[in-house]
């Protein structure tokens, strides 16, 4: 794949102008992210000064007493996301394996379409369905929110997993079959070790999306304040849901607290992405190493 020419050489004026345009466009990403971080952090400062480190450790959220502890919402965000992951991962992997290993060629494309279709159902439609159809049966709780989130992230995890699994080299699969393996044993022996890292990355990306989902979660999670419990049927709250629910009636300090929640959520999302990208990169490096 070595390039015959140095494609990075500088050209004439038009070339330089075009390059500048492209660099500028890429810089927009950094500028926007920087602006988000700066403006939001500035607006979060009042509550951080008011609460100190208590903002991150206190379990009490009481606007009436100007006490703002984010911990229960961090818990709610992570817990519902975890429930969503526990439901979504086996289903997504199952579908990805079905599409790549089991499905007859004719069925393959319709299945890919089906998953993509699920991916573009707007979250507010799921929320509508969740609150009017699902919650009357299940109540409003961590679990209900987790189920709705799972339905939303399954298409993401499925399509990423499918791509990872499809990169399993044919010789490795044939080696397993050659030893007399059944299809399932081949999956365990060849597909799984090859795809492990990439699959973890796919799951982490799904996790990021589950943590940021707002409207659907806000409608079905139950909106209890200060709730830190492992009981999945208890009502809880998540960071984006609190922001969406309380913004309308919040006064100055309360608003600052909600923006601080947004900043905290942003930081957690970045951490998740960092972990995901490093896992993916390591697995890609390993796969590449094995190929050569």
């Amino acid at each position: 794949m070595a390039r015959a020419l140095d494609l990075r050489g500088r050209g004439d004026g038009a070339d330089r102008a075009f390059r500048g345009l492209a660099v500028g466009a890429a810089t927009v990403v950094l500028v926007v992210l920087g602006l988000i971080a700066a403006t939001m952090t500035r607006r979060a400062l009042p509550v951080l000064e008011h609460m100190g480190p208590g903002f991150f450790t206190s379990t009490r959220w009481s606007p009436a007493d100007e006490e703002f502890g984010a911990l229960p919402f961090v818990w709610g965000t992570l817990y519902t996301a975890a429930i969503a992951i526990v439901i979504a991962v086996p289903v997504s992997l199952g579908v990805a394996l079905f599409i790549t290993q089991l499905a007859p060629q004719r069925l393959k494309r319709p299945l890919v379409y089906l998953v993509d279709l699920l991916a573009v159902v707007p979250s507010v439609v799921f929320g509508l369905w969740g609150i009017l159809v699902l919650s009357p049966h299940l109540g409003r709780s961590f679990l209900t929110a987790g189920i709705i989130l799972a339905i939303m992230i399954i298409p993401i995890i499925t399509s990423l997993s499918r791509e990872v699994i499809e990169t399993t080299p044919q010789p490795e699969k044939e080696a397993a079959y050659g030893l007399g393996a059944t299809r399932w044993e081949m999956i365990l022996a060849s597909v799984w070790p090859h795809s492990k890292g990439g699959l973890v990355g796919a799951v982490m990306l799904g996790l990021g999306r589950a943590m940021g989902e707002t409207i659907a979660a806000a409608l079905v999670i139950g909106s209890a304040l200060g709730q830190i419990t492992v009981d999945p049927l208890a009502p809880g709250n998540s960071m984006p849901a609190v922001i969406a629910n309380e913004w309308g009636e919040a006064d100055e300090l309360h608003k600052s607290a909600l923006i601080a929640l947004a900043v905290l959520l942003f930081i957690i999302t970045i951490i998740v992405n960092l972990v995901a990208s490093s896992i993916v990169r390591r697995s890609m490096a390993r796969t590449a190493g094995r190929r050569t």
């Binding site: 409003r140 909106s223 304040l225 629910n245 309380e246 309308g248 009636e249 919040a250 006064d251």
Partner: protein, 364 residues
């Protein structure tokens, strides 16, 4: 019909706004964003002189705003009004930041927030009163009666069964079932929650333990619903449930609601009339702020609250000020007549007169 046609045209053109500019029929609309100070008057499809008024805030008065806007804009062709709801706090913030021309709110600005308002001094115009009902779902009990202290104990979970002696004492002769009470409250921050908890705080004689505010630390064994409708839905679908809901929403969901004991010791049914009666017994300050909660008077329903439209005394766009003044005038006069039908109470005469007089302070 012409509107439909122009819409189809718009859809075909996709980026309708800029295309219209190019055609020259719509001067200066997309080139200059609305300037800070107030939303700019925008020329609509039909030519000059049109004014758009943007508003947000209290969802409590949204029903009234919707009906009033429909009637008012029908009679005033050049004026368009968008009332966005979103909550009283959002309305006050948006007004403070000059994002809207007026705000609806169920509670007052805090002094510190008012100092940050970018448009200077504000005026409060009360527009309506309305009852908050204690809606419940209980077989065999057609008319529950509750005193403020009992209601406080139910909502802070001190009383957990329907056959509790305190409830029985309020309802002599009623057959109260031996069933669990399910408390339903708002998931979103809400002026209704704020006023309801203020009432419990004020009237329950110390029985209310959870403080007051738009967001309250409800015990975890309660249920939360989105908006009045969400609470109503929980009450309707849950045996043994009780929640606080606007009268109009409680009626729309066909819920039973309790008679509540007022200061005079009478159990009063929440109606437009009993809310009006509450309005007769209030003390109004010079700036037309007041609280209708726990009002005096034999016929007053005690959980009655109020909603204001807040505007800046001075707007720097004359056209806007004039339209705003006209609309406020409508809200305070002819508009009041439709309130009982919407399950709200009109302003008492004395208050209405003061509010109309205050229109004189408005520029334009």
């Amino acid at each position: 019909m012409t509107q439909k046609m122009s819409v189809l045209l718009c859809l075909a053109l996709a980026a309708c706004g800029s295309k219209k500019d190019a055609a020259g029929t719509d001067p200066g609309s997309s080139a200059t964003p609305a300037t800070p100070g107030s939303a700019t008057p925008r020329a609509g499809g039909g030519g000059g002189g049109n004014v758009d008024l943007d508003a947000s805030g209290s969802t409590f008065q949204k029903t009234y705003q919707e009906s009033a806007i429909e009637a008012f804009t029908k009679a005033h062709n050049g004026i368009k009004i968008n009332y966005g709801g979103g909550g009283s706090g959002k309305g006050r913030q948006d007004l403070s930041d000059l994002v809207v021309d007026f705000a609806g709110t169920d509670s007052l600005f805090k002094d510190a927030d008012l100092a940050k308002a970018k448009g200077g001094a504000v005026l409060y115009f009360p527009v309506l009163l309305g009852p908050i009902t204690l809606a419940y779902n209980l077989d065999g009990v057609d008319k529950l009666q509750l005193s403020p202290a009992t209601a406080a104990k139910i909502f802070d979970r001190e009383i957990k069964r329907w056959n509790d002696p305190a409830i029985a004492a309020d309802n002599p002769g009623a057959k109260l079932p031996d069933a669990d009470i399910v408390v339903a409250h708002r998931a979103d921050g809400s002026g209704t929650t704020d006023n309801f908890t203020k009432y419990l705080d004020k009237a329950s004689g110390g029985a209310w333990k959870l403080k007051s505010g738009s967001t309250v630390e409800w015990p975890a064994d309660t249920q939360a619903g989105q908006g009045n409708a969400g609470v109503a839905q929980i009450v309707k679908s849950t045996k043994g449930a009780i929640g606080y809901v606007d009268l109009s929403d409680a009626k729309a969901s066909a819920l039973h609601y309790a008679n509540v004991k007022n200061q005079a010791g009478k159990f009063i049914e929440p109606t437009a009339a009993s809310a009006s009666a509450a309005g007769d017994g209030i003390d109004v300050k010079d700036d037309l702020t007041f609280s209708a909660l726990d009002a005096k008077g034999d016929a007053a329903y005690p959980i009655t609250y109020q909603s204001w439209v807040v505007v800046y005394a001075k707007t720097n766009k004359a056209e806007h000020a004039a339209a705003l003044k006209q609309y406020l005038q409508y809200l305070l006069t002819d508009g009041q007549k439709m309130l009982p039908e919407l399950d709200f109470a009109p302003l008492p005469k004395s208050l209405q007169d003061k509010a109309i007089a205050q229109l004189g302070k408005l520029a334009g």
